[in-house]
Symmetry: C2
Subunit: 329 residues, 2 copies
DNA sequence: ATTAATAATGGTAGCGCTAACATTTTGCTG
DNA sequence: CAGCAAAATGTTAGCGCTACCATTATTAAT
């Protein structure tokens, strides 16, 4: 049997609560006593039972984190940002991915609530009705990240429609008049759809059409490569492709290289996210960089502030984005 | 206040334990009673308290997973494999990364043990003394993944020295006599060092030298690009580079493309891992594919079997690897 | 020294659940 | 329809810890 706090207490000849105090608020225990308790902890090989502590104190130091996918490096970087900050403050992340399925998200939220998390971090502002209700009624801090809008509690992200507009304006400025927007699956990755909305808005305002090619699969390099072929075949007038993300764009660029398709001369290529690979391909990818790690870090900071009851200047943080101009468009 | 099992029990006019049974082993409760309880659960909006349940039953359904890094796609894929299997069986992963620091690993193990995990999954076979002792004395199943060797309990991975030998033999077979092995930081990523050991063994057996260029930083594309320049400058006789991983190799390949350095004519390039990018660069990367997702899945399957007391045919699983020949070497 | 304030420590109860055993109900046989 | 085994449900106690309040020790001020 694992030794408990009572064994430590007996060994140190103090009461259990004093041991608890040494563990949780050492500065209220007299140094001499504390030393005796710490020695006892070492001696009996005590391992703290966090489950019991969390149950008794009704606070688990768990942070539930729900992202759409763990295959997408973008979310990994966000998680890294969250993790670095939360861990520093002694919080443990409970991680799950929805596979871009809102019903699964709801189920995950339910499951996670069973662990009495100190807070929840979810991706995006769209949830199904049940999930929206649960989150709204939840007492713990909720952070909705990645996009900006009408949030339940905390909101850290960037303006996707504006990012779409930004790139569309840039491509227009470069003289492109036939631009195809290529996404992997807008129904699931709806933030790609929001960027498309912005893109279309700008093009239509300029009296242009904004065709959308949805590849219908969540793919990466391979899907981007296929998309390039499809655009060249189906949209002969197209002079530029605005890809929903850098994975697709990089896949297209690498494919172009192999096939000897000249970029940007034959077709210009633009992406979104600012992944490292974009800076290493030739030509360098024109894209929009998103501060993914920063989103995670800020979300963690604000969530912790909320947990600890500190006031925040604002519930909403626009982390912004930047146009990164390469040679590809 | 959140409703508890007692509120549900009152509503359904059964005892608390019956509610507990509906939740944990529904088939021992008569369907009519079960339906009444389930209705009551919905009615009062009951959310199960997993902390209390875990404490009472002394089993948390937590799986502690410790990897060196979350920035490396390789471990992400392993985690994906673990996750998919564990989640299907109702286990929740507690994730942490060591930053390739064994002391941090030890501390993480200690912390995680406080959550009474049902099992631990750690990366690699090397631990510091304290960690080795803690893990050895631990009652829960332990899985050490990625590499093969003398493990504490379960072991799922591949033979890194043999992977190094495999690539070295291939390069020798291609006529290369001056091959530089390039790693990012063998002291931390010691599995890259194991592959180098195998590589060197083969070269020395052939009467050749096996220079090692350690870039001294955990980098990805950029480090690979720098490494290529260093090799061309410092090892004028080199005809091939054996990179410790595909990130470095891809970085070098993309850099070569930009600089107009001909691969494999001027210098051949080989990698390790079989990342998707390797199949999309031109020339395609010659590499060794590791079944990363499979390692995760198998580890999860075996851990679950162990938890549930099922016998395993073997404690060690060699997932093997494959030489993937591209045009880069 | 005496008192009042503060600091340090302790006792008790209970967090919400489940294990273990006890009891009741049900279904079946003859 | 008695009698019995099996199935279903209930009772009690306790998992290991911390909140809350009570008590005791220490310090400072007079």
């Amino acid at each position: 049997m694992q030794p408990t706090i009572a064994d430590v207490a007996m060994e140190a000849r103090v009461s259990a609560i004093t041991v608890s105090r040494v563990l949780n608020s050492p500065d209220v225990v007299r140094p001499a006593t504390r030393a005796r308790v710490e020695a006892a902890i070492d001696k009996v090989g005590y391992v703290r039972n966090m489950l019991a502590g969390s149950l008794a104190s009704a606070s688990s130091r768990f942070i539930a984190v729900i992202v759409p996918s763990l295959s997408n490096i973008v979310f990994i970087e966000v998680i890294n940002g969250l993790q670095s900050e939360f861990e520093r403050q002694g919080y443990q992340i409970l991680l799950a991915n929805t596979g871009y399925d809102l019903d699964r998200e709801c189920q995950l939220v339910r499951t996670f609530l069973g662990w009495s998390p100190s807070a929840l971090v979810v991706t995006g502002l769209r949830h199904n009705d049940a999930c929206q209700r649960i989150l709204s009624e939840c007492d713990s801090p909720i952070a909705e990240i990645m996009e900006l809008g009408d949030a339940i509690d905390l909101n850290i992200g960037l303006d996707h429609p504006e990012a779409g507009r930004c790139m569309a304006r840039y491509l227009l400025g470069k003289g492109h008049r036939n631009i195809v927007y290529v996404a992997a699956q807008v129904a699931r990755d709806y933030r790609a759809g929001l960027r498309y909305d912005g893109h279309r808005e700008v093009l239509e305002a300029a009296g242009l059409r904004a065709p959308l090619l949805d590849m219908g699969q969540l793919g990466q390099f391979e899907t981007g490569a296929q998309a390039l072929d499809r655009v060249l075949a189906d949209y002969p007038d197209a002079s530029a492709i605005h890809f929903a993300n850098d994975d697709l764009a990089a896949g297209a660029l690498l494919h172009a290289q192999r096939q000897g398709i000249r970029v940007p001369e034959t077709i210009a290529i633009a992406g979104f996210n600012g992944l490292p690979i974009g800076q290493h391909v030739t030509p360098r990818l024109t894209t929009i960089t998103s501060p993914r790690h920063r989103i995670g870090r800020l979300a963690a900071e604000q969530v912790i502030a909320r947990i600890e009851g500190r006031a925040l200047s604002s519930n909403q943080t626009d982390v912004s984005f930047e146009l990164a101009i390469g040679e590809s468009a």
